[in-house]
């Protein structure tokens, strides 16, 4: 059997992924997570001295904490299986990535296992986040210096 033939056969046999259904699931679960985030944000605004501008930091921390708790209890992977990107793209996916790596490598010891692998996946999120933030700020700084936009 030739290589192309095999590929064609494989394509015929493989079931088609239900794209539309997956997108709908991700949309609604992701939206639900964001709605919970908005509720947490409003909670901080109303009951503590945070403004709309400053409530973001504690909200992110709380959402990551919730995701970490759910990951530890083994519930987040069920949400992830159901919703896919809907549960991975919001900041809760970051908390999940950190804790699941820690759980996976626990058997290798506390320092080399948990400590070394904690940011295995989340590290790239942090790295590219910082790098892209740097470049966006640089572009904005140049635009402000030229006088196209203002801060």
């Amino acid at each position: 059997m030739e290589k192309e033939q095999y590929q064609q056969l494989e394509q015929n046999v493989t079931p088609k992924p239900p794209y539309l259904k997956n997108v709908a699931k991700a949309f609604f679960v992701g939206g639900l997570i964001c709605a919970i985030g908005q509720a947490v944000s409003l909670f901080y605004i109303i009951f503590f001295n945070f403004t709309e501008a400053t409530a973001g930091n504690p909200t992110v921390a709380t959402m990551v904490f919730f995701a970490m708790l759910l990951t530890g209890l083994g519930l987040y992977k069920r949400i992830g299986q159901f919703a896919g990107a809907g549960s991975a793209v919001p900041v809760t996916g970051f908390g999940n990535a950190v804790i699941s790596a820690a759980i996976e490598h626990r058997s290798e010891g506390l320092v080399l296992g948990v400590g070394g692998n904690l940011f295995k996946l989340a590290g790239s999120v942090v790295l590219f986040g910082v790098v892209s933030a740097f470049f966006v700020a640089l572009i904005k700084y140049i635009l402000v210096t030229i006088g196209v936009v203002s801060w």
Partner: protein, 129 residues
């Protein structure tokens, strides 16, 4: 099927009838301030607290206009400063400030406490982290 729809419609109607433009303070030029804000069609709701020589203008901007929130805030601030040059005007589109302004109105806070409260809110609005 029709009953829930009716309930929802009635609830939405209830929302619309809420007082949208509130002015709290000695009632000399209350309606003037109200008219001034109503001119700006991007403002959805507003609460103005004024006493002695200062003025706290808390507004909520319509959803699609919120992209330009900082700009509209500045525009409104400028407008009020021009209209009331001898008053210390502070405009904010932040939800926290709006919420607290409504609370001041609801609790009918008196003059000496009002001053402290508004200074506190101004400090709060300046915070960035």
């Amino acid at each position: 099927m029709t009953l829930p729809l009716l309930v929802v419609l009635m609830l939405l109607n209830g929302c619309a009838e809420k007082e949208k433009f509130i002015v709290y303070g000695p009632s000399q030029n209350g309606s003037e301030v109200e008219a001034l804000i109503k001119e700006e069609d991007y403002v959805e709701r507003s609460t103005v607290i004024y006493y002695d020589d200062s003025m706290l203008v808390a507004v909520q901007i319509k959803p699609w206009e919120k992209w330009k929130k900082a700009k509209l805030e500045k525009k409104l601030q400028k407008k009020f400063e021009e209209k009331y040059p001898n008053k210390d005007v502070f405009v904010s589109a932040d939800y926290k400030i709006f919420y607290e302004a409504n609370k001041i109105k609801k609790d009918q806070i008196e003059d000496n406490k009002l001053n402290d409260k508004i200074t506190e809110l101004k400090e709060l609005a300046k915070e960035e982290t």
